[in-house]
């Protein structure tokens, strides 16, 4: 079997059994990257030298028995907004084009402790602002299923790299759907964990109160295994939560009898592509056939989620991005007269249009006289949305919904109409506002062959329920001859 089409757990097992060496695994990934990158552009940085060196170290540790993780030696792609010591970390922005962090993000360190080999840093929308990976300073990433289409975003590089086999799994980050939506567009599985589950230390912030790192993989089992490794209570992140149970792989059970699934009517109305709708409802039917009870309900407040999200995320971003000023690190304009001119030119030249738009939007909603009307109101809306989910979870174990209203759009069609692009986040942003876990799992393709993902949403700290349902669905789908075999089918 081709190394690049293996899942992370399969490859990890072969490495443990010494059937494949870590260097072989890394070389296979590098070859795939060499082959696919000219077309796909999933990576900002490929660290071939570092990965090969690291492969030998990990191989040695596996041999000595000091690393025993099931994913030891498996090549991983890291989204370029997570700090990696000494390795370029750009956030997809010109303003960090020369930035090499002095420390490694906690989630990445957790992976390294488990023997992961970082193959490179994946492309993304600039500072995770965008839904297509087209706002990256380092060129757009293309969808491996059809390079005329976007991979989604902002973790488009991570999802495309996994779909193309350039790395076995990847880390992404999700502030308003940035793991789930591109996972849906690229036909891979992605989990956005409960806020506070994975440390944000070393994740370059976009919207601090919404950002969460999560796994992207070829199937549910891989994602559960990765989440189990990256999740931790980190004292360096005050918003990190100490959880009772980190055993996410314990939920990989093909049994969902009695599980109560809620279908929010509001998520299946106007604006939803009918092919997407049909595929999701078929997938829900599969779950029902396997013994789950399914019921439609009104979630309400759905129309307020997008404005609330864009107010809160932009407000936080406008402040988070203020540190990029040319003083301490990153890009600085070449000629300037005095401090203010340096600030202005550096930031004007260093940030792209979407980042600037959100900085301006965020600065506006926080400015004196507007704070109450926008920011405070958005915070109240956030609370109401959380309440609406709370009452839904009184009745249901999980909620099933689309991850995005459409399949992947054609390149170059989205950025011209930002408002329309923002509306594409309608099914994902509420989950971030409420701090809930969500998973996107492939359920089929549309008539043009582009993947469709189903989103399963759980209550806080109930990742195991969505993992179990997604896994059970995936088992049926794989048995029916779909699923994993489809990855890289355009290769």
């Amino acid at each position: 079997m081709d190394i690049c089409s293996m899942t992370a757990l399969e490859l990890g097992k072969k490495i443990q059994q010494k059937k494949i060496s870590v260097v072989e695994a890394v070389k296979a990934a590098l070859e795939c990257i060499e082959d696919r990158e000219p077309e796909i552009n999933s990576f900002v940085t490929v660290d071939a030298e570092g990965a090969l060196k690291r492969a030998e170290e990990v191989q040695k540790s596996i041999g000595e028995g000091t690393i025993t993780s099931p994913l030891a030696g498996v090549p991983v792609g890291i989204k370029d907004n997570m700090c990696t010591k000494g390795l370029l970390t750009t956030c997809g922005s010109k303003i960090l084009k020369n930035f090499k962090p002095t420390f490694t993000a906690e989630a990445v360190r957790n992976l390294e402790r488990a023997g992961a080999v970082i193959i490179g840093k994946t492309n993304m929308d600039e500072f995770a602002m965008g839904s297509t990976t087209e706002t990256s300073y380092y060129g757009e990433t293309k969808n491996p299923w059809n390079p005329a289409h976007v991979p989604g975003g902002s973790s488009g590089g991570s999802c495309a790299a996994v779909a193309a086999g350039e790395c076995t799994y990847a880390l992404g980050s999700d502030t308003g759907g940035s793991i789930r939506q591109p996972s849906s567009f690229c036909g891979v599985v992605g989990i956005k964990p409960t806020y506070g589950t994975v440390s944000r230390y070393g994740l370059i912030a976009y919207g601090s109160s919404l950002d969460q790192i999560g796994p992207i993989g070829k199937n549910v089992a891989d994602c559960a295994a990765v989440l189990e490794i990256i999740a931790s209570h980190d004292k360096k992140d005050s918003t990190s939560i100490s959880r009772k149970d980190y055993g996410f792989t314990g939920a990989l059970i093909d049994d969902i009898k009695g599980m109560r699934i809620g279908i929010p009517r509001d998520y299946f109305g106007e604006g939803l592509d009918c092919e997407v709708k049909e595929n999701i409802l078929n997938a829900v039917k599969v779950l029902e056939d396997k013994g789950a009870s399914v019921e439609e309900f009104d979630l309400s407040l759905v129309q307020y989620a997008i404005p609330a999200y864009y107010v809160i995320a932009s407000a936080e971003a406008s402040s988070n991005l203020s540190r990029f000023d040319g003083v301490k690190y990153g890009y600085r304009t070449e000629t300037y007269e005095g401090l203010h001119d340096m600030y202005k030119k550096t930031r004007s030249e260093g940030f792209g249009a979407e980042a600037k738009r959100r900085i301006m939007l965020g600065s506006f909603v926080l400015s004196s006289g507007y704070y109450d009307a926008y920011y405070l109101k958005a915070l109240r809306t956030k609370t109401l949305i959380k309440n609406a989910f709370d009452s839904a979870f009184d009745k249901y174990d999980i909620i099933a919904a689309p991850a995005a209203p459409t399949t992947a759009p054609v390149l170059g069609k989205s950025l011209s109409d930002p408002l329309k692009m923002y509306l594409g986040d309608i099914y994902t942003v509420s989950v971030n506002l409420a701090g809930l876990p969500g998973i996107s799992v492939p359920v089929g393709t549309d008539s043009s062959g582009l993947p469709i993902g189903m989103q399963l949403i759980g209550n806080c700290f109930e990742e195991k329920k969505i993992i179990r349902a997604a896994y059970a669905y995936e088992q049926t789908r794989t048995a029916a001859g779909k699923g994993e075999s489809e990855y890289g089918k355009t290769v």
């Binding site: 420390f103 993000a105 230390y201 912030a205 919207g207 000023d325 704070y371």
Partner: protein
């Protein structure tokens, strides 16, 4: 008749807290490191770094809040204050706006015979900024982040003060409270206590406040007093000329004794405050507050009242001694050991204050231990050394915390009480100075002084002058 004006003053006081580490990271707060050596990704604002609150900062802030009669906010939060400046590595300062840790307090001040309450509007916690150094030669600015993230509290008073005297009394009061709590050393010169003065004037009897200005860069109590007088005059002159006071921030130049406008209200920055999403709310429960109350030391006012009752020392002395917690601690411990509070107080009030003044030191910088001071008092009480020797030993002790007992022993300074030795010296002196002895015998009382002097010289000060006097009279009588 000329109009009478009243000055209305409110203060914003920044106090640097005495924690060992910074407010949001574990870097050292100590002074004097080479630039950018007490730094880490958090206090230099590196991308991806996150703040973690130092609990000791909250405890000091609660302690100050309780000691200034404030209400402690049970769910308190941090906010971001956004502004661009290179000394502020994130281009926002983590501070508190919406839910500061303490509110609605007061302290009682005394000026002359009048007592008065100055209300405290609120107190909040925040982080200090780094330091910019402008290199004129190279035409560049360089920044040192060693101070970035040092914890501060800002105490905002109500506009309750009416004169420079009241302002100084209020600052002294805050300084003493905070020093007693051990929460800060409160040194204006070194910047661990900084005051911004909000001042307006109005016609006497008016119920409405005038337009205020805010004055910054006040580095000493004297500068504050001068700045208040200068600004009061400036505002009155404006009003007398029929012109309006402009609401603005002004910088006091203490050398020129004049303030300069820095920025007016129109170009005041919009700080776009919003809740800091990287920190969780600080939940302060009754048990925590009780614990801090229990640990609260006796404050100055209580101590003063106790001194008046417990030790027989003048009120004036008690005030001076309790002005510094360090001095009060020395007093109490030394008094307990030697059981002579009056003498201990005398050493502090006379010699200690004199030497402090001569060497330009603060009472906090006293180096000698209460044990050594007690030993010195015992040595004089027992007559083992005379007062001139004691002063000589004290200077040594003040400088180096020398143990008086060993010093006296090593240098042979003990008063000679051996009658035989003294008698021999006296007889020698009389024999060597027959003229003086004869003069005394013939009634010239003054001649005795010369003989005493000679004796003391030979004895190298170790004799008791009274005793020498007595014995000489006996021998010559």
């Amino acid at each position: 008749m000329a109009k009478q004006y009243e000055t209305v003053i409110g203060l914003e006081v920044h106090v640097e807290l005495a924690t060992k580490t910074k407010i949001f990271c574990s870097c050292s707060t100590s002074f004097g490191g080479a630039p950018n050596t007490h730094t880490c990704p958090v206090c230099t604002g590196m991308p991806g770094s996150l703040p973690v609150l130092n609990k000791q900062v909250v405890e000091y802030a609660i302690a100050i809040g309780l000691a200034t009669n404030c209400e402690i906010t049970r769910v308190c939060k941090f906010d971001r204050k956004n502004y661009f400046y290179p000394d502020n590595p994130q281009n926002y300062q983590i501070s508190q706006l919406y839910l500061p840790i303490a509110r609605n307090g007061y302290v009682e001040i005394e000026t002359g015979d009048t007592k008065k309450k100055v209300r405290i509007h609120e107190m909040h916690m925040e982080e200090d900024a780094g330091k910019l150094v402008h290199d004129e030669w190279d035409d560049t600015s360089i920044v040192d982040y060693n101070r970035s993230g040092v914890p501060l509290v800002e105490i905002v008073s109500e506009p309750d003060m009416r004169s420079a005297d009241e302002v100084l009394a209020y600052l002294e009061k805050l300084r003493m409270i905070i020093q007693y709590l051990g929460a800060s050393d409160c040194k204006l010169q070194e910047g661990s206590m900084r005051a911004d003065v909000n001042l307006s004037v109005r016609e006497m009897g008016s119920g409405k406040f005038g337009t205020r200005t805010e004055m910054k860069n006040l580095n000493s109590f004297k500068a504050i007093a001068r700045a208040i007088e200068g600004e009061r005059q400036r505002q009155i002159e404006l009003l007398e000329e029929g012109r309006a006071v402009v609401q603005e921030t002004r910088r006091w130049d203490d050398n020129k004794e004049y303030s300069y406008a820095m920025r007016s209200k129109e170009d005041a920055q919009d700080y776009r405050y919003f809740p800091e999403p990287d920190l969780v709310p600080v939940m302060i429960d009754e048990a925590w507050i009780e614990k801090i109350k229990m640990m609260q030391p006796e404050l100055r006012d209580e101590k003063l009242a106790r001194y008046k009752k417990e030790y027989e020392i003048p009120e004036y002395d008690a005030r001076i001694i309790t002005e510094s917690k360090h001095m009060a601690d020395i007093f109490e411990k030394a008094a307990a050991i030697c059981k002579n509070p009056k003498k201990v107080s005398n050493w502090l009030m006379v010699e200690t204050l004199r030497l402090l003044k001569e060497s330009g030191m603060e009472p906090e910088e006293i180096r000698f231990s209460p044990e050594n001071l007690a030993k010195l008092v015992k040595l004089t009480d027992s007559g083992d050394i005379n007062s001139s020797v004691a002063k000589q030993v004290f200077v040594k002790m003040f400088e180096e915390n020398t143990d008086p007992e060993s010093y006296v022993k090593e240098h042979g300074l003990r008063t000679v009480n051996d009658e035989g030795e003294l008698r021999a010296v006296l007889e020698q002196v009389i024999a060597d100075n027959p003229q003086a002895a004869a003069d005394y015998k013939s009634g010239k009382e003054k001649a005795l002084g010369a003989l005493v002097g000679q004796t003391m010289k030979i004895m190298r000060g170790k004799a008791n002058p009274g005793q020498v006097n007595q014995r000489l009279k006996e021998l010559l009588g």
